[in-house]
């Protein structure tokens, strides 16, 4: 019944590795997002997809590559992980390009060691 679900919830990995985070929404929304929350709780948008099409890419390093196989899924792949990538990553979805608010997943806490 979870509206926006992302996996895994925790991810601990070594520098230089490649990892993926998966996200699925069952709300029928047309827009999905990835947000990064740093240690100070600041939420910053990374990507936004509308109907599988990338519409926002907020100057994120190209080591981060989102993929949307269909409008219910938006995965995030990260290559060559760095210490500074440690954060909580949130997937979210909204209807009508966010004109009515977004629903967030529970987050993936990524720790790079």
């Amino acid at each position: 019944d979870t509206a926006v679900s992302q996996t895994p919830k925790y991810l601990v990995t070594q520098m230089g590795n490649d990892k993926s985070i998966k996200c699925e929404q069952n709300l029928g929304h047309d827009t999905m997002y990835w947000y990064k929350q740093d240690s100070k709780k600041f939420l910053k948008i990374m990507f936004s997809y509308n109907n599988k099409e990338l519409i926002i890419n907020e100057t994120v390093p190209n080591r981060f590559s989102p993929k949307s196989p269909d409008k219910a899924h938006l995965n995030l792949h990260i290559n060559s992980l760095e210490l500074g990538d440690s954060a909580v990553y949130f997937c979210a979805s909204s209807q009508d390009r966010g004109r009515a608010g977004a629903f967030f997943g529970q987050g993936t806490r990524l720790t790079v060691v």
Partner: protein, 113 residues
């Protein structure tokens, strides 16, 4: 460039008090102003939102006051309870462009019993 400024950073209120969290925005094109509530280990959850055609909106114990000329809006929590202790984020977005929700820096609210 911080497009949505939020204050205070943290707030402690006795049970039954009325915490007030303030936000100011710069971009007059913003036309949707949501508030999100985040508990530890969870994703932000949409709490209440307002559009600039009204000056106040109430939902239960939560009220948004909106001052369009001052480009400010605030969240009031009536009869606050310990269960309201969370981090609160104001946000803003504009319908006319691609979906991009800009968040404030967050307020960590603690309600003392």
């Amino acid at each position: 460039q911080q497009q949505v400024k939020q204050s205070p950073q943290s707030l402690i209120v006795q049970k039954g008090g009325i915490p007030i969290i303030n936000c100011a925005y710069e971009n007059t094109a913003f036309d949707y102003f949501p508030w999100y509530q985040q508990f530890p280990g969870k994703g932000p959850a949409l709490l209440i939102a307002i559009r600039p055609d009204v000056s106040e909106k109430k939902e239960g114990r939560f009220t948004i006051s909106f001052n369009k000329s001052a480009k400010q809006f605030s969240l009031h929590i009536m009869d606050s309870q310990p269960g309201d202790s969370a981090t609160y984020f104001c946000a803003a977005s504009k319908s006319s462009s691609a979906s991009k929700i800009i968040f404030g820096s967050g307020t960590r609210l603690s309600i003392r019993p």
